[in-house]
Subunit: 689 residues, 2 copies
Amino acid sequence: MSSLKPTNIDELSVATIRCLAADVVAKANSGHPGMPMGMAPISQVLFSKLFRTSGAGKTPWINRDRFVLSNGHGCALQYIIAHLLGYELSMEDLKEFRQLDSKTPGHPEAGHDTPMVECTTGPLGQGISNAVGLAIAQANAAATFNKEGLELFNNFTYCFLGDGCLMEGISSEACSLAGHLKLGNLICVYDDNHISIDGDTACSFTEDVEQRYLAYDWHVLHVNDGDRDLAGMAKALEEAKKVTDKPTIIRLKTTIGYGSKIQGGAGTHGAPLKADDIEQLKEKFGFDPSKKFHIPQEVYDFWHQIQERGAGYQKEWDQMFEQYKSKYPAEHAELSRRMAGKLPNGWEKALPTYSPSDSAVATRKLSETLLSKVSAAVPELLGGSADLTGSNLTRWSDATDFQHPSSQLGNYSGRYIRYGVREHAMGAIMNGLHAYGLHIPTSGTFLNFVSYAVGAVRLSALSNFRAIWVATHDSIGLGEDGPTHQPIETAMALRAIPNLNFMRPADGNEVSAMYKVAIESAKTPSVIALSRQNLPQLEGSTIEKAEKGGYVLKEVENADVTLVATGSEVAIARDAAAELEKKGIKARLVSMPCFRVFDIQPMEYRRSVLPSGQPIISLEAYTTLGWHKYSHVQHGINRFGASAPAPQVYEKLQIAPKPFAEKAEKVIAYYKKEKIPLVSPIELTAAFE
Amino acid sequence: MSSLKPTNIDELSVATIRCLAADVVAKANSGHPGMPMGMAPISQVLFSKLFRTSGAGKTPWINRDRFVLSNGHGCALQYIIAHLLGYELSMEDLKEFRQLDSKTPGHPEAGHDTPMVECTTGPLGQGISNAVGLAIAQANAAATFNKEGLELFNNFTYCFLGDGCLMEGISSEACSLAGHLKLGNLICVYDDNHISIDGDTACSFTEDVEQRYLAYDWHVLHVNDGDRDLAGMAKALEEAKKVTDKPTIIRLKTTIGYGSKIQGGAGTHGAPLKADDIEQLKEKFGFDPSKKFHIPQEVYDFWHQIQERGAGYQKEWDQMFEQYKSKYPAEHAELSRRMAGKLPNGWEKALPTYSPSDSAVATRKLSETLLSKVSAAVPELLGGSADLTGSNLTRWSDATDFQHPSSQLGNYSGRYIRYGVREHAMGAIMNGLHAYGLHIPTSGTFLNFVSYAVGAVRLSALSNFRAIWVATHDSIGLGEDGPTHQPIETAMALRAIPNLNFMRPADGNEVSAMYKVAIESAKTPSVIALSRQNLPQLEGSTIEKAEKGGYVLKEVENADVTLVATGSEVAIARDAAAELEKKGIKARLVSMPCFRVFDIQPMEYRRSVLPSGQPIISLEAYTTLGWHKYSHVQHGINRFGASAPAPQVYEKLQIAPKPFAEKAEKVIAYYKKEKIPLVSPIELTAAFE
Ligand SMILES: [Ca+2]
Ligand SMILES: [Ca+2]
């Protein structure tokens, strides 16, 4: 029997949450009442009996238990809990559910104003994968900073998830990895309500979830009456906490929309309950049906004690942290810096610089050199790769793998994660790693396979989370692997995501500049695209220039044309300029490693880089779509690539100095002939942005 | 004991395949010898003893067994088998492995020239999911066309897959569904070689694969000596065929790079073996080490018999099909039509048309109406949704679900698939459905979650496969669900993929036009973006005009401005034009439901739609990136959306007639003031495309 005995107040509180959820969704006239009503009991048990909160209304305590609502459509539940726990989320906020600019949007949005929301969820499967990231971050923080008798980090990560999350492949990826890593600090509750949007799960989801999680080497429990058996839920959660070398999943049988006249059916999932249904619901639970948004005073009083307990946890911890300061001043200073989100002073001095006499090197290799230096200067970097370590070159030479010590392959203080071939989970795990608050996650795959993870990448951007993708083999330059592996559309697809830096450095100095921007962009994720093949060190590149996102690599008086390119094509554009020079044609050369960073420079600067007066022609080994924003004419690849040695693919697809120079000549002649005035596209941006 | 007894010739053939694979990769100086060498024995058993091939060099037989190499990097193996089976893949082709424009690219590319390649694989996890699609298509064809004593369709789908495929979430999605659907015609072989690119799978992949597949309700077998135990492999494959109500996975323990000096290690995975290693390999197997690309005559003779057997299968089937013709002439005609890839005569008459007096309806609802009519006229349509049926409105009213009959929820002749929340697998399964050769797959999800599946979407496009996505809730117009569900970048990301129709119809006639194009585009996939909210039937829209991808909705003499928009924003642009008219400003109105289809119209037509002479301003509730190709100035949303009732989100983000009209006025004034000549962006396209 559990030591956490439910009382009558628990039942009253559960009924209160259920009715409140119905009211919140009804007032919004939109939303999902079924899950909050079904998961009210487990929420009561978890948040009032086990969950170690921050004190109410404070800066979040770093060792607080984390909670992620992977079935994020049920967020009315989470907002109600935040309100009960005394966070800055008022009854008025609950009444503003799903309204413009409220604290209570339709799905939980992290990185904005809403308390208790660690990660942005709703897109199914993301939350459980974020939770794995939070659990990894906790394990790493504990292994890095805890000292004997001073256990600064010992929090748990709790996650609710539903059938939809389990069906999404991303959850399989993340949970297989979590089992491998033996994350005993992760406790998940599966809302087994037998309903998804299409109706009974019998129509598409009949796998044995418990057996699947046993296959992942999780600790698997179930509670058969999630509607009423509060004691059973408490017992399961306590058992989960005791198993420290496996993540736990508790399969909890619930009734969706419990209490509704249509409980147990898909009808309660995604639409408000009808007024008469809410009335009978309140009557059934002994409430006055005419009262809306009602919380009995004894329920408030009950939760007030929980708030005070949370404040106590935090106070104890603060005292421990003072002891830590006196015993371990260096570690204390380091941890305080990381908690404050400040980079180490002078870290950027670790960035390598290059001159044109240095040899040609693949930018992925330059990235490896950089990581070996910067990883020492920035200990919060937490690297990894989706099973392409030797290709991405993401592992610095003295790295230790993040592994459970029993594997004998690393330990929890290791800073390199072997993600396996799991790109989507990797992206979501990076979001969890960021959300914990102490790490800067980086990860590696081929640029083409960032596409597998774009569902997580857009959530990094939406959440203002700093996740850094090292995306190698970034073009047809990868050669023989062919069009299945050669990105054509990927760069533009990523540039189209708001608040995401897509970066494509051309040489060593640009690699350093892009990492500098990526690491300093505390609220923006970055994808750094890197070449498989060697690229020369360019005359005119510096970190200072390149970190503006676009800059003049070679200025010419009275130029006939501006050539603008990125990454491996900058050297091709340079060689095209040399070809043109032989014919007496003067070409300016612009490198544009990051559209977004260029776009936020002052207009006068942007004008100086892409001025009116001569045609601007872009070159990139990708689709030309999108380049019209900066150039008059585009040279690129509006088809899929080809499997062959890289130089032959470049030649076949005309990404080479000669065809590019020929196109430039034609463009210059066209403008002369047609007498079209040469206004830079930047002028239109300037006029209307 | 299996009835398929291995003989000495089998062992000689296995050794031949192993040495040939090493030679093929060595000559290319790039590629993956390890898997082909490790899986040579199972290939020998499968393809020589069980696999029912087409006769050599013929049009593929519709009832041939299908094979998908999900670990596509090992394609040297598949090319060697195709050569041995007598398909049009010569020794010269093997020597051209990974060379420009060869039949033997670095990963298997379907829809091009290579025999035996059903689906494009290499991106991990796709192939196994394609195989599930092929198995569904077979089950549906059998249930639809087989008659007593005339079993036209009874082929199996075989699939090889490796650790990487199993780690990818897409495989979990597809295999969970395959178990649910009880696809007994699907037989997979898992190459359990304990190696992935990062080394021993102990570093990231330690789950119990057999238990996981038992959880999915698969038939699970294993063979412990995949290097030598040919009899055991034959026995397992025979057992697999006998279980008709579950898919089978055979875990086959193999040694990667078997025979190499570095066998069993990651070093054999992704790089050619060294010359001396290949020499010792050949000596070890009793070959002359100086001979390259050597196939002993007795091996050729052996496989020649297999070819003949295949020709016999096909001949028998042709005879059966003649009997079928005489007994079931209607079904025979229908099946012949579908085999020929021809649409039913006059099917397009089923497309609904509308006039402006018809009421405003959401385009997703118009799509439902259309599907109810067209699904009857085009019986090869095979629909579905990723658990959003009631939102996507993808299920026509009299549809039957595709389900195993024992579920009592449908049967195998059903034409509506309940995919569950599994978008990525849905995309790959559609590729398999197309590949079988008898179906046009359609599927539904929210536009924002097509992003989860983009890894499969780009392979539809690369493979020239007709897969149709019904992508509803296509903008901020979905309202309260908020930015986690509101696509901003998705449209442009999809437009950037070569050979993909991204479509966004504005009203009923445009919905019909887009479906017409999508269904008639036999070699191009389509994504049809549809609104959640009601949209008016527009004055000036017709199927004939809209199927050109872009057209003039309202022409005006001596216009001051052209407004161009898509989907739900066309009516907003129309209302802006009315606002402008009040001020005496004449606005042309262009609707542009599909960039790609517009781009392939004759230049004169494109010029007539977007002529020079007045500013062109675009309006779309998405990122403006990409629109510069068609417009001088863009109006859109270069940030994430917001959770609120849709009209408020539109207002907040300025996607409304008034702000758009105001912008138009500013643009007109700017051009007058700056005296910049108004050259249509189309002119630059015309000059240099
Ligand atoms: Ca459910
Ligand atoms: Ca393997």
